[in-house]
């Protein structure tokens, strides 16, 4: 652990933020085009974030502030561990479990701060978000478990590297198609995209956990959301779609994956939260288990192409 590691970490943070915010802006335009609108400027998302940071804000006590800081801190730490096209700020720290559980500390911070505002809608939003997590995470974790069993490593960058060199046929999403489908569906849940966005439903529970945030707290939430999106999409990209051999390939693949998710989600209605749980336990969970059994007992997909 040298100073350079921390500098690299900061660079990754900054790059991830700028990149993802641009992609989000671009996707707002895509959304607008789907709805036959012209859409905002491509840098609109930056304007929104800086504007929010600029405004004055209120606080409901120390936990309201502390939770927000803890959330952003946890998420930033997770971003630093994400391997991007083989580049890691801290080598050997890209264990899949570290990433997915360190992500949870950010979420816990956010939930804490939201509930600390004393607003019932915030708590309802958090309870829905956690239930949603219980829904999408089990199938996804089972598929990831299968990957770890198959490749005998839990390192995200190693799993990504193993898929490269064979073009599209090397991707885990192609080698293990059911697992790929599960991961792709779970990505919707992770990102809180429709149809799994009932925990931030603005018209129903006044944007859930975000209800009391204004000013810099809201700005923090937006930054946090961008970084979280970066983590989640990167995780799925690295584990199932082969990561990227160079930064450029990585960025292009990332943009395509995220835009695809966004486009599909735009034409979806919204599940109630218990419907979401039922859906995840009915379709993706079964897929994940079948995929797991196929890999563990038959060994298909592990080395079937070579």
């Amino acid at each position: 652990m040298t100073v350079m590691n921390f500098v690299y970490g900061f660079i990754i943070l900054l790059a991830a933020f700028i990149f993802q915010t641009t992609i989000t802006g671009f996707n707002r335009k895509v959304t607008a085009r789907i709805q036959k609108r012209y859409g905002p400027r491509w840098y609109q998302q930056f304007l929104d974030i800086f504007k929010a940071l600029r405004k004055s804000s209120i606080t409901h006590g120390w936990i309201f502030d502390f939770g927000v800081i803890m959330a952003l801190g946890g998420i930033m730490a997770t971003v630093i561990f994400i391997p991007v096209a083989g580049f890691e700020a801290f080598p050997n720290m890209d264990n899949v479990y570290i990433i997915s559980y360190l992500l949870a500390i950010g979420m816990l911070g956010m939930a804490m701060s939201a509930a600390g505002s004393g607003n019932p809608w915030a708590s309802i939003g958090v309870s829905r978000a956690l239930t949603n997590m219980l829904a999408y995470d089990i199938p996804l974790m089972i598929v990831i478990f299968t990957l770890i069993f198959a490749f005998d490593t839990a390192s995200v960058s190693e799993i990504a590297a193993m898929q490269q060199g064979m073009g599209i046929l090397g991707w885990n999403a192609i080698r293990m198609p059911l697992g790929g489908i599960v991961a792709f569906i779970a990505l919707f849940g992770m990102l809180g995209k429709k149809p799994f966005d009932s925990f931030i439903a603005p018209a129903e529970i006044a944007s859930g956990p975000m209800v009391e945030y204004g000013g810099k707290h809201l700005g923090f939430m937006f930054i946090l959301h961008e970084l979280m999106t970066f983590i989640e999409v990167s995780l799925i990209l690295n584990l199932f779609f082969g990561g990227g051999s160079s930064i450029l390939v990585y960025a292009i693949k990332y943009a395509i994956l995220y835009t695809l998710v966004n486009i599909i989600s735009q034409v979806m209605p919204r599940y109630k939260i218990d419907q979401a749980v039922k859906f995840f336990y009915r379709v993706p969970l079964v897929f994940a288990i079948i995929q797991g059994l196929v890999v563990i007992f038959l060994g298909w997909g592990v080395s079937v192409w070579f």
Binding site: K36, Y38, P40, K51, P202, M210
Partner: protein, 183 residues
């Protein structure tokens, strides 16, 4: 009523105002008849997102409050309550003649006639009801006002808080009600 004052902002405030002007989140208070003009303003025909504007769920998050028509005294309390929950800088755009001088309800016992006696209005849109074109035009005006640092209603409200409070109390007796339904 546009509150004129000379431009004595420093560089940071100017940059801040640039951000504020280009990203306006709104909370629309659907009183009166005007709320129905907003869906076309938002959707594909006029698309206000081009201006960087979008709807937000709560007053804490919002920058601009749209008062879309006449206000009964009962709703005025809620408007004031919501306005005070918003974060600075905040703006108010009032729609229609009802908010300017009472419009067709000028002699009603239940509505107020002149909104800017109670809360500071940055921009009025005349008409009964203003069409989306007018609304879009007004938003463009609001943006240029913010950019120039002229949309200072919120500051005016802070500076003349007593005056506003007195007007509010004169009409409403108390803004936040305490009665058997609200205890």
């Amino acid at each position: 009523m546009v509150l004129e004052n000379q431009d004595n902002r420093n560089l940071w405030e100017k940059i801040g105002d640039y951000f504020s002007a280009n990203s306006i989140w709104m909370k629309w208070y659907c009183t009166g008849c005007g709320a129905i003009e907003l869906p076309p303003t938002m959707t594909s025909r006029f698309d206000m997102e081009r201006l960087g504007m979008g709807p937000m769920a709560t007053p804490r998050q919002a920058d601009v409050m749209l008062i879309t028509g006449y206000l009964s005294t009962k709703t005025l309390r809620r408007v004031i309550y919501s306005y005070e929950q918003m974060q600075d800088p905040k703006y108010i755009v009032a729609f229609g003649s009802c908010t300017i001088n009472g419009g067709v309800y000028y002699d009603s016992y239940a509505t107020i006639n002149q909104l800017d006696k109670y809360i500071p209005v940055d921009l009025y849109i005349a008409g009964c009801m203003p069409r989306p074109e007018a609304v879009m035009n007004a938003f463009a005006d609001l943006i240029s006002m913010i950019k120039k640092g002229q949309a200072n209603g919120w500051r005016h409200y802070q500076e003349n808080y007593e005056w506003y409070k007195k007007n509010q109390l004169d009409s409403l007796e108390e803004v936040i009600i305490h009665d058997e339904f609200h205890e």
